[in-house]
Symmetry: C2
């Protein structure tokens, strides 16, 4: 397994304590679903036997973003909590919409608590994300809350576009990039800037950090799409070849379909098939994506984005130690196997 960067583990306890305190505000039914989703408890309420929960990259970036603005991470904890809550909201709802049954090596919340409870718990976490920020009466909190609201709007637009792709065979790589920008990169951008926004740093710094996050977010999505095809299920926690099974128009798939090679045409044929793809066909589809250049394109595109992200940090004049930690996260994002 790839080593998790220091910045990701450093503020984790502080953020988790604040998340737990905020979740206490919820109705007991919603609290249970949220605690399960965050990996704090098992479905029956017992303590988890092994490590659970997500990578928590977004809260780590939010704390770093505060440090970039020269403030102590402890001062921007609500920003870290808010981005993680928005992420959780989107996962809870997306798993229902996409009919995804596994999340982080465990059954998705909706399969355990039912669809209504998963929808409501997502709703509750979205509202709570705003509430924890607005608890503070500062101008920074106001702007951070606004950032959460507009980012959520983008995230939803991305998911709507993605759902629309399912019934289309003519998705261009540009459209697919726009979708990934909205669905994934927007929340990365917000996460990388929100600590600085909450700390009332100059707009210029917040914009540069947002640009860094956007590039990094697209790199993250490219790697996620690669792992959705070539990831090892025992490491990713998701079923093997899951994205191909549901015929997702992910970035490497779209690149392969649009490459104009014989492999592209054969892949298009498989994607157009009305019956479910057999296990053999799934393996064939993965091979065709590679043959058509989709895999190499996505790997290269992720590297280009990470380079661009780094350049934005340099231009922003972020302190060297913070810069190093941001770049460690960027390295983790592109080399991770889960």
């Amino acid at each position: 397994m790839t080593v998790v960067p220091h910045a990701v583990t450093e503020g984790r306890e502080m953020v988790e304590a604040a998340m737990r305190a905020a979740v206490e505000r919820l109705d007991p039914r919603m609290r249970r679903v949220a605690a399960y989703h965050f990996g704090w408890v098992e479905a029956d309420g017992s303590a988890p036997a092994g490590p659970t929960g997500g990578k928590a990259l977004r809260p780590a970036m939010a704390l770093l973003s505060g440090r970039a603005a020269g403030v102590d991470p402890a001062r921007v904890v609500p920003a870290a909590v808010a981005v993680e809550f928005v992420h959780a909201f989107s996962l809870l709802h997306d798993d229902v919409m996409d009919d995804d049954r596994m999340r982080r090596h465990r059954p998705a919340a909706w399969t355990v608590f039912g669809v209504p409870a998963a929808i409501l718990a997502g709703d509750a976490l979205l509202a709570l994300a705003e509430e924890v920020l607005l608890d503070r009466g500062t101008a920074g909190a106001h702007r951070a809350a606004r950032c959460i609201a507009s980012t959520t709007r983008k995230l939803i637009a991305g998911q709507a576009l993605d759902l629309g792709f399912e019934s289309r065979s003519d998705v261009s790589l540009d459209e697919c990039t726009v979708m990934s920008m909205d669905k994934t990169a927007a929340l990365f951008a917000c996460s990388c800037a929100i600590g600085a926004v909450l700390a009332e740093a100059p707009n210029k710094l917040a914009l540069a950090l947002s640009g860094f996050g956007e590039d990094l977010g697209l790199a993250f999505q490219l790697v996620d799409d690669l792992l959705g095809i070539w990831g090892r299920p025992e490491v990713t926690g998701k079923p093997v070849l899951n994205d191909l099974r549901s015929r997702k128009k992910s970035l490497p798939v779209t690149a392969a379909l649009g490459a104009g090679t014989p492999a592209s045409a054969r892949l298009a044929g498989l994607y157009a098939q009305t019956e479910p793809l057999s296990e053999d066909q799934l393996v064939e589809a993965a091979a065709l994506i590679e043959e058509a250049g989709g895999r190499a394109w996505a790997e290269r595109a992720a590297d280009v984005r990470v380079d661009s992200a780094a350049a934005r940090l340099d231009a922003a004049g972020v302190p060297a130690d913070v810069r190093a930690e941001f770049l460690a996260i960027a390295h983790f994002v592109t080399t991770r196997d889960y």
Copy 2:
């Protein structure tokens, strides 16, 4: 049909224009679902032939609440938009969770656009409610946005409790009242105070208006529950005896079940039946609720709440013309037939 109060129609165009402008920010897919839900278009995008949309009580109350604080309704339009968006969010999601197929005389959005689109459109409107308020950088906007977030949390707690009732036969009238307070009265309370909050009126006024809204909201829910059993489907826009069909533990039902009469016991027997209730049994259940005193209790409880609401307005020293309009809405709420 009951006559709609002047305050409800007065600011309607202004609020609708602002709602339409805000919905323009959404992804085209979400925009379509929202426009359909609000009754601006039919499912195919064409103009509606007849009147559509909801009663728009909440935005009317939000504008009145601004007037109570001495400011022009035009200045608190974002507050009116926000409460109507939160209401729409909750309806879009509740219809999915409750498997309700009709809304305002038309097929519910999820039956037209699918469950994922309805979930996402609800999400989008919740985020947009916050965004329209936070567009304004004032302390009043900050507090109004916080009010929206905490109200949404309560609304979700109420819906979670309500869903939990479905699998229980021992729901007390107290629990049912708490549920209705959260699910309905909280957003009424917020709607009646948010204009004053946005206008930065003294806290005392906002609290009194919130109290008025809470009482009125509970009265609204009591009447809604009565209409859910004895309402005329051609007027309410919902299928006849719908709440009994899904064996909702609404307030009059809970009161009847807890009344300890022979009719209560027979009603409990029907509610405990595993097979769907036949049309004859639905009619019988309605008669039993009446016989056990559930109908009379709910009618009386609604009147008591409206009297209490009026007393709160008096104590708050709300201007006479605004008071009259608030009371006209209260009268409408208890005498309406839809």
